[in-house]
Symmetry: C2
Subunit: 314 residues, 2 copies
């Protein structure tokens, strides 16, 4: 079963890792948000791509979910000696990724090509595709004025109320050939349990993406990132609320209404089943919290079974 998973950072990477374990090698393609990419000291940093890549290649820090495990921060310490503000925690090993990516991009390779090279070298068993090759920047509207995503997310610790989201540059982006081909060949399309506003929405907003999704006969299934009204990680719950959505599985289902055929919600959210089904979305209730590799693979298998059922395969 060829599966395409749309993903952001840590939460999406966890499910993607489960899917990679549950599927034959090469059957999984992860299409990753790149709207929170940014430049730091001239290096192109792609936080979500890296989180997915490190996770799938088994290089990820299992405690933080982002960054490389057994990491050191000696370069950053020296950058700090040079007087720079080191609010974004770049590890020494992680820096290697940014240095090589930046160089290959400067040499003229596309982000899709560069990512493929890095992923192959690290040995992930899935394809990892950026949502597009053009730079897109998520700019948040806050009381403090417009704010770049990583400034909001890392530097200011997600303390600001988000009143609006702009995807700067999205109108000049376009779906890549690689993403188009993957979607056209997909038997199942998954929306990972990533932030619906700043992780999944940018992917869906790439010109040509929604059309390609709608053209695919594959069932589309979202896994709710909201469990019991709360995001397991990150600011998705507060962001949903401040932007006028409901911070619940139903609230997420409404955002994806018209696109998804099925939704996976946690057992604590069974009360929402009827409301979600009223949107024309089938519901799978299961234990949706991924605490370890076993959880990830089990959830992935359940999601795949659910998808196969929706496709009328079983």
């Amino acid at each position: 079963m060829k599966v395409v998973a749309l993903a952001g950072g840590v939460g999406g990477a966890k499910l993607a890792a489960g899917l990679q374990d549950a599927l034959p090698d090469g059957d999984l393609t992860v299409v990753v948000n790149t709207a929170d990419d940014f430049d730091l000291w001239g290096l192109r940093i792609c936080p979500d791509l890296d989180t997915v890549m490190y996770t799938l290649a088994d290089f990820a820090n299992p405690v933080t979910g982002w960054g490389v495990r057994k990491e050191s921060f000696n370069s950053l310490g020296m950058i700090s000696v040079y007087g720079e503000d080191c609010w974004f925690k770049l590890g020494d090993k992680d820096l290697a990724t940014h240095i090589l990516r930046t160089n290959r991009l400067r040499e003229g390779a596309s982000l899709t090509e560069v990512t493929a090279g890095l992923v192959e070298a690290l040995g992930a068993r899935a394809r990892i595709l950026p949502m597009c090759d053009e730079p897109v920047a998520t700019i948040l509207d806050t009381q403090e004025g417009p704010m770049e995503f990583q400034v909001y997310f890392v530097r200011r610790g997600q303390k600001d109320d988000v009143r609006g989201v702009e995807l700067r540059g999205i109108e000049d982006a376009q779906i890549t050939e690689s993403v188009s081909v993957a979607l056209a060949g997909a038997d199942l399309i998954l929306l990972c349990p990533s932030n619906p506003i700043v992780s999944i929405w940018p992917v869906l907003a790439v010109p040509g993406m929604r059309k390609a999704l709608e053209a695919s006969p594959a069932p589309k299934v979202a896994v709710s990132p909201i469990i019991g009204g709360r995001a397991l990680k990150g600011p998705a719950d507060r962001m949903l609320s401040s932007l006028g959505h409901e911070s619940s599985a139903t609230g997420v289902a409404r955002i994806y209404e018209g696109l998804i055929d099925g939704m996976v919600v946690d057992l604590v959210d069974t009360a929402e089943r009827a409301e979600i089904e009223a949107l024309g979305v089938r519901v799978l209730e299961t234990e949706a919290v991924m605490r370890d590799a076993e959880d990830r693979t089990r959830l992935a298998r359940e999601v795949l079974d659910f998808g196969a059922k929706l496709a009328g395969r079983s």
Copy 2:
């Protein structure tokens, strides 16, 4: 006494460190060879500038003479995981220098400006100036064909015979305002015990440099990098021979003939005094090997005294 020292890498940096200790803060300006600068993975690496900077700011690795002390190589290890050939040993702390320099150059700052910022942050007590702001590349003619300097020096361990030296780009370079001003205000100009062919010659070859040196009334003193016919470090002795020079203090004096007023040679080379003096060059014989900080400062003081004597000051 305002002193300008022309320097290459490790040997030059050692004497420069001694001069920094022997002179009041701010009285020393080191003009550094940049013809062995190169790009690696998109980063601009300036080996001699960095060696001088790290040494004067007391960040240098005392064992190797180059690189930063208490260094780690985790980033390079990851770059190697990505399949790159890691023949140039970039440490994690050292990488910080290259990342920030590359970024500031890309933002439009000159190498002179960038270097000044880095040097100030690290806290050296001397000014460190690149010989020019334009990129110049030392290309060596060998049996294996033309070879970039760092490939010869690091990758191939100086095993090739050097039959010729080209300074690619030197014709488009020019002496900087900072170097001009420093030379014009100098009471003493020193040629450090660096490789005369690939460290000092590129500095002298910068258009406008020799004219500025000749226009200065300050005595010019060279410290011989050849002691007892041998280079203490690096391939200067073999390079002198293969290029048709004599590998001796006299051979070095001949290269600098017409430019220098004095030469500092080691006690083992006292037999060469007459030959060097016949070139119109005054000779100071002393213990010229710098084993530790004490040696460096002692030699620096003797060189400064010798220079003052040549200037008729004492």
